[in-house]
């Protein structure tokens, strides 16, 4: 399929990326927490995937390769954005979301997003790839271009923060699970 695309067969690209369309958009949305940004990141990811398809190592998992592009696109988009305040990392972004959109997302989505708000960008990347996308520690490290040790450290702190948030905001959910 990849060979077909490289030979200029435009129709072959869609079946190549369709299995990952949900994953790409969902991860982009969880990272950016904004629908428009998520669309932009996803589009950019797929365009880049096509542009760099020639350099794709066929021994590698295609999904992981796509996720690596996505994370890089997200990081670049983050650099372009100007942080409003120094405390930006720990400020809940839900305040920026307009009420209509919040209503549309529903309670469950808000819960998830609210829990991710307190994570640093690296913790968020590690947590989403390892716990949401279920990539191994090694795969996560490769996607993020870091070491397994670094992934473990960030994963541990991310889980700690999330558990505290869930416990603080939704104690009834934890009680129900015990």
């Amino acid at each position: 399929m990849i060979e077909l695309v490289l030979r200029g067969n435009a129709e072959a690209f869609e079946p190549l990326v369709t299995p990952y369309r949900k994953t790409i958009l969902s991860l982009a949305y969880r990272l950016s927490q904004d629908r428009e940004d998520a669309m932009e990141i996803s589009q950019d990811t797929l365009l880049r995937a096509f542009r760099y398809l020639r350099s794709y190592d066929k021994k590698r998992n295609f999904k992981n390769w796509l996720l690596q592009i996505l994370v890089n696109v997200w990081r670049n988009s983050q650099k372009k954005k100007i942080e409003p305040e120094g405390l930006g990392e720990f400020l809940p972004k839900s305040a920026e979301i307009n009420p209509a959109e919040r209503h549309l997302r529903g309670e469950i989505r808000s819960q998830l997003l609210a829990c991710l708000d307190g994570l640093s960008p690296r913790e968020k990347e590690v947590f989403l790839l390892r716990d949401m996308e279920e990539r191994s520690v090694k795969e996560t490290a490769r996607i993020l271009g870091s070491s397994s040790l670094s992934v473990r450290v960030h994963l541990s702190s991310a889980r700690k923060k999330i558990k505290e948030r869930v416990k603080e905001k939704f104690p009834h959910l934890l009680e129900g699970r015990r």
Binding site: R105, D131, M132, K163
Partner: protein, 211 residues
């Protein structure tokens, strides 16, 4: 293992990333410590909630958005479609050289057609012209010796039968005579009576006299 150390390891243990040696120690501690067991349960529950929520809230594209994106990518694919090898830019050098070669050959071909025939070489013309000799030697004269008429030098002459009708006079030094270092040739025009003397020295330098 104490509780402080256990609490550091529980987040990774909850997801199964803790190395086996540490995990074994933690399991031992968990058997004895209810607070840490509770902590672990909370971690596992929080992760499970988030995973479930993640699956529920998984986003998908609006079909029209997806199709638009695919259209956009497809357009780029077509724009970047590699040219066939024979049309690729790397062949430009080859085609340029081939064109120059063809032009060169064409120039040579047309030049040879359009060029006026050059005048034949004089020597060639002379060689091809059948001239009736003014005097022919008789067979008995085939070899003769003596002094060439009007020549101031003693020369042995003999006729060479290289071709019929052509007279070539070869000269050689007579063994009895002293060494000759000059040669004179006299040309006489039968029509005008003009005489031209060519005198060559041993270095083949020559001078011409006309009478």
């Amino acid at each position: 293992m104490n509780c402080e150390k256990a609490k550091k390891n529980i987040p990774l243990f909850a997801g199964g990333e803790l190395p086996e040696r540490k995990a074994r120690n933690l399991r031992k501690h968990l058997e004895e410590c209810e607070a840490c067991r509770k902590e672990l349960t909370e971690y596992k529950a929080a992760l499970a909630i988030l995973k479930d929520t993640a699956h529920e809230e998984e986003r998908d594209w609006e079909e029209s958005e997806w199709q638009n994106l695919m259209k956009k990518v497809t357009t780029e694919i077509i724009r970047r479609r590699p040219l066939p090898f024979l049309l690729s830019p790397r062949m430009a050098w080859g085609y340029g050289l081939l064109l120059l070669l063809i032009m060169g050959l064409a120039a040579l071909f047309f030049r040879s057609i359009l060029r006026k025939p050059s005048a034949p070489l004089l020597a060639k013309e002379i060689a091809l012209t059948q001239v009736k000799p003014s005097r022919t030697f008789k067979p008995e004269e085939t070899t003769m010796s003596g002094q060439v008429k009007d020549s101031p030098f003693p020369v042995r002459t003999r006729r060479l039968e290289s071709s019929p009708g052509e007279v070539i006079i070869a000269s050689s030094r007579s063994p009895a005579k002293p060494a000759q270092d000059q040669l004179s040739v006299t040309l006489v025009s039968q029509e005008t009576g003009l005489r031209v003397y060519w005198t060559f020295n041993k270095n083949f330098e020559w001078k011409e006299e006309k009478q």
